[in-house]
Amino acid sequence: MTMTHADESTSEAYVRDRMVEDAAPPSSSVGAIGWMRANLFSSIPNTILTLLGIYIVYLVVPPLIEFTLVNAVWEGEDRTACAQAHGACWPYVEAYFWTFIYGRYPDPERWRVNLTFFLFAIGLVPLLVPQMPFKREGLIYMLAFFPVAALILLTGGDFTYAGFFLPMPEGELRFWIEFLLVAAAVTGGIYLLTREAGGNAKGTALSILAGFGVLAALFFVASIDFGLVEVETPLWGGLLVTLVIAVTGIAASLPIGIALALGRRSNLPIVRLISVIFIEFWRGVPLITVLFMSSVMLPLFLPEGITFDKLLRALIGVALFASAYMAEVVRGGLQAIGKGQYEGAMALGLRYWQMMSKIILPQALTLVIPGIVNTFIGLFKDTTLVLIIGLFDLLGIIQSSYTDPNWASPTQSHTGYLVAALIFWVFCFSMSRYSIYMERRLDTGHKR
């Protein structure tokens, strides 16, 4: 700056006498052409990428349309219709469609599956749409009523229990005595453990006891005879099995994962050790191994004559497997929460669980929504692996339909895989979009 400058600026003294009114913000895009110029052709590399993109679309889309629409066969009763086809064989999909959904679930009982789907949908919608009221009721419905209803509707209920290990005649009595013994042993063990570690032993023991109470109620309700025909799980199949495994896995993995993540960061060495061992064990083995072990190895360890439902074993395996992954995702979120949040909460006198549930977890989980949904999507697709232990999920049932000589044709398998891909994609893409929506909604603009 020179002297002259300074002099000039003083000679141009200025005092505002009228305030400028607020104006509307400028619109950011000026028509389609403006948008294209800004987004597709703003620079030479961008233009090249745009052209490349157009070329790829050109390579992929026309053949796809040709296969699914132009060359497709639309009408027919059996394989003869599609024998010469160069496109999708839609009559085959039409003939098999309900099998894809229900598997070999007996025809007259399929209303039970439909009712289950319906009960699930009416429970899910209020939970997913933030503006809907009755969140708490919805949650209770989904966590307490729906699982029991689904279990009874799908299997038929009327379970009989024989008991496992006590040296007395098989029967309900033996089962319930064993149940009480196990409940007492587990509760007592955990009581002693928490007391040893200086935690709140009484509260923990009470909540474990409450858990056993819920379990007992579940067992009891499941043993009531509602007059439904029993449908054994080997008859289940298709989308039904995919959804049963995925929904159970998702519903179980989030709470178990959170508990494991908190456990891994706990100050109590035993809790930390158990969490670490659990997580590292399940992350360390491939899901296929878990499924194999559950179907081949587990029966070897169980006493003679005791069979565990194959689907149930797969469910437990998948749920625990997903929980380990979920735990690490959640732990990532917990690590991102600064010490200040803990201190702020503690200084206000919040207890550990209050602090975690009101302050830390809401923030940590919001941060890792993409990771959580990623795990959900992975889990959803991993359900296809149950094929190897002889369960027929959506993909399995589609594949098994290829052996039907009635519909053998050159494009049968292409069509089948296309349908499988489409259904999986719809589910996974919905989850992905929903997660993006939730992320935006939960963003309170606090990112610094």
């Binding site: 200086g198 935690g199 709140n200 009484k202 509260g203 960061r265 706990s266 100050n267 109590l268 200040g340 949040q341 201190e343 702020g344 909460a345 503690m346 200084a347 206000l348 006198g349 919040l350 207890r351 550990y352 669980w353 209050q354 009101k358 302050i359 809401p362 923030q363 919001t366 939960l442 309170t444 603009g445 606090h446 990112k447 610094r448």
Partner: protein
């Protein structure tokens, strides 16, 4: 991490030592180490009810550590701390009880970014004091009016300026109706023009007779409200005195040096 439930707290009240109702905080021979590092050395400090104490000292001298020991954000390893008649031990019930009575304001506010201002203020009254929501909200609005930002109640912390956030943090603490307030450099993360609005709130609190321990280098504030100024260095209390004597006639060489540095 440690935990305990509300049911248990009511059963056995921690014994209140009958020292004197006059004394809010008593620290005797408090020592603390971080590993090998001796942060607090033989701290003796008695704070009377209604007393307002300003703590100053160079960075790293242990000021934060000392006041954080009072509500057990840090654990001391030797010596005794009695807050509001309750001796601090490993007993979680006592820690909970003390934290309910002692409010704390942090340098970086530590507001909960996922909750609105109002929710920030009502959370602890509702969950810790088991207050009905409506009542908690009325109290929260009362204190938000006191710190002069009732109109921000439904915003999120991220939408407020630093000074506003710090005033919310003070209101949040006050909603628990604490008997003692701790401030750890409440204005040092703020721009100059926001410092005054926060200090004004603190002066108001002081005038109402709140027991306050305040780590700050705002010497004007110290002169105006403090009964006593404490100078710390190397984890020890080097000098303490009434503000006039402390500032105008410091005794210890280190105090003189420190004052000459911060007062230019």
């Amino acid at each position: 991490m440690s935990e305990s439930t509300g049911a248990a707290a009511a059963v056995s009240e921690p014994p209140r030592l009958k020292i004197s109702d006059e004394i809010a905080i008593e620290m005797v021979g408090v020592n603390k180490w971080y590993g090998d590092f001796h942060v607090l050395k033989d701290i003796d400090l008695t704070v009377k009810r209604g007393e307002r104490i300003v703590i100053c000292g160079p960075s790293g001298s242990g000021k934060s550590t000392m006041i954080r020991c009072i509500n057990r954000l840090e654990e001391h390893q030797r010596g005794n701390i009695v807050v509001d008649g309750i001796e601090l031990t490993d007993d979680l019930k006592r820690i909970d009880e003390i934290r309910r009575e002692v409010g704390m304001v942090f340098q970086h506010f530590n507001l909960f970014p996922h909750l609105t201002i109002l929710e920030n203020c009502t959370l602890a009254p509702i969950w810790v004091r088991k207050m009905p929501k409506k009542e908690a909200e009325d109290i929260a609005m009362h204190y938000l009016e006191r710190v002069k930002i009732p109109e921000q109640a439904l915003k999120y912390p991220g939408q407020l300026s630093g000074g506003q956030q710090q005033r919310v943090a003070i209101a949040r603490s006050l909603c628990m109706n604490p008997r003692i307030m701790l401030f750890d450099e409440p204005t040092s993360a703020l721009d100059p023009e926001m410092i005054k609005e926060v200090l004004d709130v603190m002066v108001g609190l002081a005038e109402e007779g709140m027991t306050m321990l305040c780590v700050t280098h705002e010497m004007g504030f110290a002169r105006q409200v403090a009964n006593r100024v404490i100078f710390m260095d190397y984890g020890q209390i080097i000098e303490q005195n009434e503000p006039e004597l402390f500032f105008d006639n410091p005794q210890h060489d280190r105090t003189k040096l420190f004052l000459s540095q911060i007062l230019h």
